[in-house]
């Protein structure tokens, strides 16, 4: 189907111009036609006048001729006088000219006068003939008198008069016609002129008015939009160029409006973030001050007691120190949680996905939590459906998440029941975990705030129940990192249920600033190389070093395997800790790479099994972790990491932390003589520590028995069998004496700047 063409401004203007030109042409044509018509009529009128004059002259000639002939005839009869030939010829000539005169009328003969004219001619010719004979036979006496011609002459004259009168009537008619024509053409011309003017004026007016209206609307809209009213839409009145312009303008203002909205939104977000940050800082300050108050207060009190009374109620002092310690721990927990949150928020918390059985982890957790639940008289129950598939997600985060939720449930429930309900939603392919308690519950407004940082349901809750108020915020962030969702329902006084939904398979996403696997691997190879370099100093070991990799992630295992082979090591693998221990005993590897990603407790248990068994205790173990698991190591309380050749700054801080009152402590250094050991000795002496050096296990054992040791440093450069022995010996000593001695392991190898930098990354490693 044909659509009518768009009435654009251009088309409109073209049509107007064409119309005006056409009318102008028409006017011209009418003028031409009427002018021609007028000329024609005018000609006719002139002819009529000419014929009138002709008739008058013919009459005159006829009468003259008649008179002349009558005179001649009378002369002939009375005088008998003859005419000379010359006179006769003159008479004949007169006749001829008369005839010519009559013939000259012919062009003026109209249809109306034709009959009359013909009759006239007929009569005149007869008369003419008679007159000729009169002239020709004048000198002949026999020629009769002309008298009888009189009648013919009279008839001719009568016919001439008739012709004349008809001619006059016809001419009058002609004149009338001419007048009519002139009047008619004048009218038409005038009408067309007027119409052209009217059309031109109205077209011009319409064009101006119409264009002006659209332009005015456009102008008004532009001013409004320019003034900031970006929501304003200019009405579209026309389907033409201005309409197009208006549409484009509206689109532009829409885009501008969207952009402005986005900017506004971003600004609000930034403001909100800023407010949150300020709030967070205020809260943080509050949270840090509370435990600090106890720490400072009790410390001052102990100092006062000691200084003023010179005696110390030992029991009271220990109690107070315990309080300082517990406040300090709370402070540490707080800082760790804040760091965790900051790490998540800055996108630096990496996710390590692997395939794991969620129910197994939950069962392990239940074992861990059992004593805590029992303490508050709670019953721990797991209900599970059998169709839960293995999950591909971050197992460590999953464990921490559920541990947090369970600890929370235990914390807020007394003599109640805590239920974990694990199931699988076939439709959404989500594993669903409900953690319900029958504890104190929350009000609606408390529920709203529960996932926010530093907000426990009630600000006084933390004082009663402990905790930093950050646990649930971290949980929520964890779940989001794990691409799941988390929700809570609660009834005050009845209990709370947290629901966690996790996808069975987390989509792969590259965390910001994650270390590419290659780098992680290089790192472990470096560490392995160094470990061997130190341990094998005395050995002439040309043998291929055998390394056992205990890791449950097939991909990671394969990767490590390849890298180790490339690095010139012989790699053997175990995909679980049980097999790992078995293989370690049977094959006696030179080194074990134990992954912390296997449910972490499992790894720590494995480590202790390996270290306790006589068959494996001599084998160095490198704990591998892609996460910042340093904290786990610290939490164990005995072994700490010093990954670099003594960083003085760090060392000093650590030492001062251990000995804040500047008391003289006793440090035991187990390491062969080396630069690293000497610099450590110097450092310790500077910090007023009393140092004892031992280079063998036996020696150090003796010292431990004899003296009260506050801290132990072990160099990695000591024979590797000895390190293991010393570690076992130390743990036994601690068990027997009930004393907790911090143990630092130092590598004693100068690491390149690059290595040091890498060691600071989250993929740091714990060397034991």
């Amino acid at each position: 189907m044909l659509t009518p063409p768009r009435l654009t401004l251009r088309l409109r203007l073209s049509i107007s111009i064409i119309a005006i030109v056409a009318l102008f042409t028409l006017t011209n044509i009418t003028y031409q036609v009427s002018s021609e018509n007028r000329n024609l009529r005018l000609d006719n009128l002139q002819n009529a006048v000419a014929s009138q004059l002709g008739i008058v002259s013919i009459r005159q000639l006829l009468e003259n001729q008649q008179k002349q002939i009558l005179v001649l005839d009378a002369l002939k009869t009375s005088e008998g006088e003859n005419l000379s030939q010359q006179e006769i010829d003159k008479g004949l000539e007169g006749l001829i000219s008369l005839q010519a005169e009559i013939m000259r009328l012919e062009p003026f003969v109209f249809s109306e006068t034709a009959n009359s004219y013909n009759l006239l001619i007929e009569n005149y010719e007869s008369l003419n003939q008679d007159w000729r004979q009169f002239y020709v036979g004048y000198n002949d006496k026999r020629t009769p008198s002309i008298k009888k011609v009189e009648k013919k002459f009279n008839t001719t004259m009568k016919l001439l008069s008739e012709f004349e009168s008809i001619e006059i009537v016809a001419t009058e008619q002609q004149t009338l016609n001419l007048k009519r024509t002139v009047r008619f053409t004048d009218r038409i011309t005038l009408a067309i002129y007027l119409f052209t003017i009217a059309l031109t004026v109205s077209l011009g007016y319409l064009l101006i008015r119409y264009t002006n209206r659209s332009l005015n609307e456009l102008n008004k809209g532009t001013v409004r939009i320019g003034g900031g009213d970006l929501k304003y839409h200019i009405p579209i009145n026309s389907d033409d160029e201005i309409g197009d312009l208006t549409i484009a303008f509206n689109q532009m203002s829409d885009k501008l409006s969207n952009a402005m909205a986005q900017v506004q939104q971003s600004k609000e977000k930034a403001d909100q973030a800023n407010r949150s940050k300020t709030n967070f800082l205020a809260n943080m300050s509050h949270e840090l001050r509370t435990p600090l108050n106890a720490i400072i207060g009790y410390s001052e009190m102990i100092i006062e007691d000691y200084r003023e009374e010179k005696t110390l109620d030992e029991e009271q002092a220990v109690e107070d120190l315990q309080r300082i310690l517990s406040s300090g721990r709370h402070l540490l927990q707080l800082i760790n949680d804040v760091l965790d949150l900051a790490k998540i928020e800055s996108g630096n918390m990496s996710v390590f996905n692997e395939t794991f059985d969620s129910v197994t982890i939950i069962e392990e957790l239940l074992t861990t939590m059992a004593p805590i639940a029992k303490k508050s008289g709670n019953l721990l129950v797991l209900e599970k459906s059998n169709d839960i598939p293995k999950l591909y997600n971050d197992a460590v985060k999953f464990r921490q998440l559920l541990l947090n939720l369970l600890s929370n449930a235990c914390k807020f429930t007394q003599n109640g029941k805590i239920t974990i309900l694990a199931s699988f939603n076939e439709k959404s392919k989500h594993a669903v975990f409900h953690i319900s308690d029958t504890g104190i519950g929350m009000t609606a407004s408390q529920i709203d705030r529960v996932f926010k940082a530093f907000v426990q349901a009630d600000s006084s809750t933390s004082k009663k129940y402990g905790g930093t108020g950050l646990g649930l915020a971290i949980c929520k962030q964890f779940v989001e990192l794990m691409q799941g969702s988390m929700d809570v329902t609660s009834a005050e006084g009845k209990g709370t249920t947290f629901t966690v939904l996790l996808p069975t398979k987390a989509a792969v996403q590259a965390p910001k600033d994650a270390i590419p696997p290659e780098n992680q691997q290089e790192l472990s190879l470096d560490i392995i190389d160094q470990t061997f370099d130190q341990a094998n100093q005395g050995d002439a070991g040309d043998n291929l070093e055998k390394i056992l990799v205990i890791n449950d992630d097939p991909a990671a295992r394969e990767f490590l395997f390849n890298q180790l082979e490339k690095g010139g090591y012989q790699a053997i693998e175990a995909n679980n800790t049980k097999d790992g221990i078995k293989i370690a005993k049977e094959q006696q590897p030179d080194l074990i790479l134990l992954d912390l990603m296997i449910p972490a407790t499992d790894s720590w248990t494995t480590l202790s099994v390996l270290k306790k068994s006589g068959q494996t205790r001599h084998i160095p173990v490198i704990l591998q972790s892609t996460l910042g698991e340093k904290t786990s190591g610290l939490d164990l309380g005995t072994t700490k990491l010093l990954p670099r050749p003594i960083d003085r700054q760090r060392m000093t801080t650590a030492l001062r932390h251990l000995n804040p009152q500047g008391r003289r402590g006793v440090a035991l250094l187990i390491a062969p003589e080396s630069k690293a050991r000497d610099s450590l000795l110097e450092e310790l002496a500077d910090e007023a520590w009393q140092c004892i050096s031992a280079s063998t296990g036996g020696q150090s054992y003796e010292y431990l028995q004899e003296k009260s040791i506050d801290i132990v440093f072990i160099g990695l450069d000591i024979a590797r069998a000895a390190v293991a022995d010393i570690l076992v010996m130390l743990s036994e000593h601690q068990k027997n004496s009930g004393q907790t001695i911090p143990i630092y392991v130092f590598s004693g190898v100068p690491l390149s700047e690059d290595h040091s930098r890498r060691l600071d990354l989250p993929a740091d490693q714990i060397i034991i």
């Binding site: 207060g297 001052e300 006062e304 406040s327």
Partner: protein, 127 residues
């Protein structure tokens, strides 16, 4: 002997302050929440109140307002003890009717000075 009422819900902080102040020769009564503090004040008006602001049951600000609303305790000196250390927190405590304000961790000598100053001022007024 000067009698102080310490209102503090944190067991550790309550214990610590009670002991330290006792050593300085004050007689200390301790309350764990605002409601309890009001009951104790009703029974016998102390010479001065040390008030934590984040309290369970009835918070410090409300407790202060109620103390001020009672004609008997209109001029009872109150020192706010709080871990909220922002400027507006101080104003909030003063608006609630506290005479003075000190932040945690508590600077003990400063606290003693403040107690002394308020007690002296009150005594002068009483005279």
């Amino acid at each position: 002997m000067t009698r102080l009422l310490l209102v503090e819900d944190n067991e550790m902080n309550r214990d610590m302050l009670t002991r330290r102040l006792k050593r300085k020769g004050f007689k200390i009564d301790a309350a764990g929440d605002g409601e309890q503090a009001l009951v104790m004040i009703k029974e016998s008006i102390p010479d001065l109140v040390l008030m934590d602001m984040n309290l369970p049951i009835k918070n410090g600000w409300m407790t202060c307002q109620e103390i001020r609303a009672n004609p008997n305790t209109e001029t009872l000196p109150i020192i706010a003890l709080t871990a909220h250390a922002m400027a507006e927190d101080k104003q909030k405590a003063l608006d609630a009717g506290c005479n003075d304000y000190t932040t945690k961790p508590i600077d003990f000598p400063l606290l003693l000075e403040k107690i002394d100053a308020l007690l002296t001022l009150n005594k002068k007024k009483g005279d």
